[in-house]
Symmetry: C2
Subunit: 227 residues, 2 copies
DNA sequence: AACTATAAGACACTGAGTGCCACTGGAGAA
DNA sequence: TTCTCCAGTGGCACTCAGTGTCTTATAGTT
């Protein structure tokens, strides 16, 4: 198990260095495998395609995120859960800033790698949309809005992440993303809910009027807003 | 010139039929070329990669769209120009519904084709963002918002397009997209502008107070709203 | 120590994509 | 008409990504 990780890591390191030194297209999988001291076939046991070599294990992260979303309490507002999921993604990059910065340099230059990363982020986006459809209703005006919200979250994630990477990977991305997302989602939440201003509240008595079947998190949110 | 188009079209037709009949991975470029009556080498003179065979010429469409955006009058609100650009994209699909529906069937099933299409749409998105940054200012709070707006437009485009394709390509996509976009952008425009309600106007006298350097389209919009 | 599962090596094979050179048919100039 | 030019094409040959399959090594288990 420990060995497995080591092989994978050394393959990633070798690929990163070689790609940066001599270019992506100019580097063969043979060279990467040789530099890592393994057989060529072993490379393809760890990575489906050549591009995968320098990326974090997006499949694993995606599974983790789907798990987190599905495990989220119905009392948690869906947008909060999605925000947390986005933070989980950015954490993947933040744990190894140096590698992330190198990778960013490459994805900027190599179209093939850029496409690959876009594909990965679009899978996160789909997961967010599926979650929102499940928790917030899948009727037609909403499906589109959920897609837009998911796209906004992923876009914001990418924007903040790229700025951080351009800055050399210093500073607290997590905090920056938290702030950016709260700004974006605060602007978008009312639009999502079709109510432009929160209901006014009087005195100390709180009367909740709602329909049967209204999601619990929505009622919870309403009550919190009233307090 | 006419011959060139014919070869390209017959390659596309052959690829579409073969992919649908026996699968993308199971079809070789040799088979496509043979079915179209040309040499294998000729295929790669028309398409960079195998995936390109069934897609419209996104490079050409992208050039057209960038041209349209850059040629747009500064008096036109940027979001209107972007809406028009999105309509141009959807027109590409609407001109040949049958082919579009077949292609959609394939992109749903073949991951490789899906990735390819996502890459194409992301290029449109980038073009929109670049245009908004140029016309509406590229200061930091805005850059992010422009990215989010572009993502929203592309997402809406894809949503409406896919619904249309699932319905067999019947009906007026253009009209549907126009409506959906106006709905989405109407909700997002105030958020983009940081003003939540239009200024109130009195009587017949219109006094415009603005800063030097305010984009003309913004002033025009304000005046129109006041009329 | 024997057993088993899992990772890794070895090797052959298919097929995508590229470079290069030769060919052809049609448009335009002499 | 004849010559010239050239964009589009055909035909190889070649590299290399990715896969199937069988064999070997190693680590953990009993």
């Amino acid at each position: 198990m420990a060995v497995r990780r080591d092989v994978r890591r050394s393959l990633t390191a070798a690929a990163l260095d070689l790609f940066l030194a001599q270019g992506f297209d100019e580097t063969t999988v043979d060279q990467i495998a040789e530099a890592a001291g393994v057989a060529r076939r072993t490379f393809f046991r760890h990575f489906r395609v050549k591009e995968d070599a320098i990326f974090p294990d997006h499949d694993a992260v995606l599974r983790e995120i789907v798990g987190h979303l599905e495990a989220a309490s119905p009392l948690v507002p869906p947008l909060t859960a999605v925000t947390e999921a986005a933070l989980m993604v950015v954490d993947t990059y933040a744990t190894d800033p140096e590698t992330s910065v190198k990778r960013y340099e490459l994805t900027r230059r190599v179209p093939s790698l850029r496409e690959h990363e876009i594909g990965a982020t679009s899978r996160y986006q789909r997961a967010f949309t599926a979650f929102l459809n499940e928790r917030d209703g899948a009727d037609e005006p909403r499906r589109l809005r959920h897609e837009v919200i998911s796209a906004a979250v992923v876009t914001t994630h990418n924007h903040v992440l790229r700025a951080w990477l351009r800055g050399g990977g210093t500073g607290d991305v997590r905090a920056e993303l938290t702030e950016a997302l709260s700004g974006i989602l605060a602007g978008l939440q009312p639009w999502l809910d079709d109510r432009d201003r929160p209901r006014e509240v009087e005195d100390d008595v709180l009367i909740v009027v709602t329909r049967r079947g209204t999601p619990l998190w929505k009622i919870a949110q309403e009550i919190e807003a009233a307090g």
